[in-house]
């Protein structure tokens, strides 16, 4: 199959305008005849559901949490980017576009990234109108700060809870539509399959997590806004329920996956303290505005941090990357931390952390100022570690975070299945091989508020004559049979190991061989290990309870069964990309100084994968990336 990204013609800065000017419209009288399913109620899901409902479409929205307000977007702390140039420090749409393209190591589409930067200003307007209490200057105007990988202040924030506040705005817009009966909301429902009729996405199969009941829902288009799958590593900064099931099952139905191996490892997570641990907590990257990162100069240092004199500390980010220092991008900072930890300079009981030190900032600005900026993050750190970071440095460590890969989508955010869209972290589109801080909330919001309302309408304009389908159609019956058979299989194995056991084992394999650094040898070992683990899973899994009732263990088992397949494709993807870029660091491809060595001649493409059936190797279809507006440069932050 030939991929068509459907990039509009014309100069870069006019492409989105061109698209909007030429997109087909649906008459308001016809919109009410058209149904759209939205899976997920995070920023992308809530915003597109509310937007389409306001336009007059009938929307059905699903989430697996007990309330639409609890999607994972709620946990993002630091902020959201927008090229407003309020600080008069030289920011512009082009600069934001360039920073994002460069930050992603020149592995994303120019047109998509430019649109992201272009719509960013509008998002701040939208959020403020919804009542999001962003930080303000004393004169009443919006305040902002810097994030990693850029030299301007373009990050807007609501203390350390920006994700929560943006999500509440989107959730409230959604609930307004639920009250108006333009959205039907199904909480505690998990999507288990997408249903195709005549090759187009026309519905989904879901499981009611309260009753175990399997339900069929039909629509004229299906939008997946189901988030990322960084939880595949088990220990990650993601919420416990984050999973790959919705996009993976769509992939098995024909939607292509793109760059699954690009998972961002965030540099400022709390370190792992024991094997019982279920997740790693993220400390916002914004802390690096004032915190200085260091390790002791001496390996295996046993002194407490405050007892180590200044001259015996190695501020390794400032040393290696003087231009960006502690605000070096996430992939660079994470790898630099790993390098120091692996070399024996790690701190903490497990020697797996580095220090993030605020003493200088407190000395210069006063404790009160630091408290005002990051107070809740310091409180959170105290709650988890029982340590006061105002008096001694925080301990931080890299942890799996954001999936840059996901379902392949064209410029319209449509997958290779007509009528099936993927928004936000569920798609691969805007971040390339590494996501710049504070662009995640932005992409989810921009996709849902500003892009998909046009592109979904454009698609639906061709579906006006399509009738509402009956859920009794054979395609729905068949899909339900497959879903039920899989659930029964998981319950009937009755082995001796829990789903968590497999998830933890898989996570360790991925951290070791497909994490911060990868090698051919390690990836081959991982693929072999994953295959063995998958086979063991289907022989020895133990799920208590039944499929036709509330059953948290069965939910986990279903997600792990998908992870066991996604993981193999991740490793396959990493294996074929014989270069280092962004989050993907292949040990064989590095400069003598240990920096990533890209290969633009051979790998300036998006790796797109087509499913071939159970047990068969997937086919790689490269989508070449054309750069007409930027020059591919070595990504240096020195």
């Amino acid at each position: 199959m030939k991929l068509n990204a459907k990039i509009p013609p014309g100069p870069l800065k006019d492409k989105w305008t061109y698209y909007k000017d030429h997109a087909k419209l649906v008459n308001p009288a016809n919109r009410k005849k058209l149904d759209v399913i939205v899976v997920g109620t995070g920023l992308a899901g809530s915003s597109i559901a509310a937007s389409l409902a306001e336009m007059g479409y009938h929307v059905t929205s699903f989430c697996f949490q007990d309330s639409a307000r609890r999607a994972h977007s709620v946990a993002a702390q630091g902020g959201v980017n927008a090229a407003k140039n309020y600080k008069n420090d030289g920011d512009s749409t082009y600069r934001m576009f360039y920073d994002t393209i460069k930050g992603g190591d020149f592995r994303s589409r120019e047109a998509n990234v430019y649109r992201l930067a272009e719509c960013s200003a509008q998002l701040i307007d939208q959020a403020v109108a919804q009542g999001v209490p962003f930080g303000r200057e004393y004169g009443g105007y919006l305040n902002n700060r810097s994030f990693g990988g850029v030299q301007v202040s373009r990050t807007f924030y609501a203390r350390g809870q920006t994700g929560q506040q943006l999500l509440l705005g989107a959730y409230q817009a959604l609930m307004r539509q639920v009250a108006a009966k333009t959205v039907s909301l199904f909480t505690r429902h998990e999507m288990l399959d997408v249903v195709l009729v005549d090759g187009k996405a026309r519905g989904i199969i879901v499981r009611n997590l309260d009753t175990g009941e399997i339900e069929r829902h039909t629509a004229h288009a299906v939008i997946l806004a189901s988030g990322g799958f960084g939880k595949i590593y088990y220990l990650s900064t993601l919420a416990m329920g984050c999973n790959a099931s919705a996009i993976w099952r769509a992939h098995k139905k024909g939607a292509f996956m793109a760059c699954p191996s690009w998972t961002q490892v965030h540099p400022t997570s709390l370190p792992q303290s024991g094997s019982y641990q279920s997740k790693l907590t993220l400390m916002s990257e914004s802390l690096r505005n004032d915190g200085r990162i260091w390790v002791p100069l001496k390996a295996n240092e046993s002194r407490k941090p405050n007892d180590i004199p200044e001259e015996e500390r190695d501020y390794y980010l400032e040393r290696r990357y003087p231009a960006f220092g502690n605000l070096a991008p996430r992939d660079i900072s994470s790898r630099a931390a790993k390098e120091r930890i692996d070399a024996g300079f790690g701190v903490g009981p497990q020697q797996n952390a580095v220090y993030l030190d605020f003493s200088k900032a407190i000395q210069e600005q006063g404790k009160q100022k630091i408290k005002e900026k990051y107070g809740n993050l310091f409180d959170m750190y105290h709650k988890i570690t029982a340590t006061d970071a105002y008096t001694e440095p925080m301990m931080i460590s890299p942890a799996a975070h954001f999936s840059m890969g996901g379902l392949w989508v064209d410029y319209e955010l449509m997958t290779t299945i007509p009528g099936l869209f993927a928004l936000g972290e569920a798609n691969f589109a805007d971040h390339g091989a590494n996501r710049l801080g504070a662009n995640s909330l932005l992409q989810a919001c921009v996709d849902g508020y500003f892009v998909a309302p046009y592109t979904v309408s454009n698609y639906l304009s061709g579906e006006i004559k399509e009738p509402r389908l009956s859920v009794e159609r054979q395609e729905f019956v068949d899909a339900e049979v497959v879903v039920r058979a899989h659930l029964s299989k998981l319950v009937s194995i009755k082995g001796s190991k829990t789903a968590d056991h497999y998830h933890k084992t898989l996570g360790k394999l991925l951290y070791d061989y497909c994490g911060l650094s990868r090698s051919k040898e390690g990836l081959l070992k991982a693929i072999k290990g994953i295959r063995e683990l998958r086979s063991d899973f289907y022989q020895n899994l133990k799920v208590s309870g039944d499929e036709d009732e509330m059953n948290g263990e069965l939910e986990k088992a279903g997600r792990v069964s998908d992870y066991l397949e996604v993981a193999e494709l991740m490793c396959q993807d990493a294996l074929t990309r014989e270069e280092s870029c962004g989050a993907h660091f292949r040990e064989e491809y590095q400069t003598p100084e240990g920096e990533a060595l890209r290969n633009d001649e051979k790998f300036c493409f998006v790796s797109v994968w087509q499913y071939q059936g159970e047990g068969k190797d997937e086919i790689l279809i490269p989508e070449p990336l054309k750069f007409e507006n930027v020059e591919l440069a070595v990504r240096s932050y020195k």
Binding site: Q130, P133, Q164, K383
Partner: protein, 249 residues
């Protein structure tokens, strides 16, 4: 350390529930409370028993999904903390811990420690939003908002909707939750315009959901993970009374 647990088990809203005893060896001080529950569930599953159902997701204290009564207190013995951020270092070897679901007429039990908090969503549906359509908002700096107002609105907006306020209140009142949203939006120019209508509708919905009246004991503020102030309730009462008075004059 060794911990003795007494956990509320209940199959569904219509079935009787009871406290069931469990013992857990090798609990580690640095474990979070929910990781202790994971360990228990692992033990139960391997023994062929049904694990304890409980709600949780982000485990960072922000999503609001977790929540249980621990030794009679919402989210456990530490003030202003979610259950997911409670750590076993707050307990000692040999302790017996009583674990029950959040209770309240507006929060029917689903199974074990899971409760149905959808009443909160319906309260938001009644008016907990700014009536603005998406896509065409005016320039954000067009309406300046003072630093103090934005900070104060944030203090109210920080509510995570966990329901601890309801669970800890003798009247199972949802006044803190409802008032936090009313105050958040009333403090900002964008939400102020419809604040009176909003107060009437949200209070009405809160009553319809069978939450009780505020007791004025301020227990809700003590247990709230986000330290939402009871002053929000005063603001809600002011908005409500004002709208009643204005409507009747």
């Amino acid at each position: 350390m060794k911990i003795y647990l007494k956990i509320w088990r209940q199959n569904d809203a219509g079935s009787p529930g009871k406290m069931v005893d469990y013992t857990l060896d090798n609990v580690i001080l640095n474990m979070s409370f929910l990781e202790m529950m994971d360990t228990l569930n692992e033990q139960l599953v391997l023994a062929g028993d049904r694990p304890v159902e409980f709600d949780h997701d982000c485990r960072e204290g922000i999503c609001g999904q977790c929540g249980m009564m621990i030794n009679g207190r919402a989210h456990g013995p530490v003030a202003h903390l979610t259950t997911c951020q409670l750590h076993m270092r707050e307990f000692k070897d040999g302790d017996t811990i009583y674990i029950e679901p959040f209770r309240g007429k507006g929060f029917p039990i689903k199974r074990d420690l899971r409760v149905d908090r959808s009443a909160f969503d319906r309260i938001i549906m009644a008016g907990g939003f700014v009536s603005v359509n998406t896509g065409q908002a005016p320039e954000a700096n067009g309406i300046p908002i003072s630093h103090e107002d934005a900070e104060s609105a944030f203090d109210s907006a920080a509510c995570i909707g966990c329901g601890a306020c309801v669970a800890t209140c003798k009247n199972s009142s949802a006044a803190l939750f409802t008032s936090a949203k009313i105050a958040h939006l009333a403090k900002l120019p964008q939400g102020e315009i419809e604040s009176r209508k909003r107060a009437l509708a949200m209070v009405q919905q809160m009553d319809d959901e069978q939450f009780g009246h505020c007791t004025n004991t301020e227990a809700c503020e003590v247990e709230c993970p986000q330290s939402i102030s009871v002053l929000n309730i005063a603001r809600m009462n002011w908005e409500y009374t004002l709208s009643k008075v204005l409507r009747n004059t």
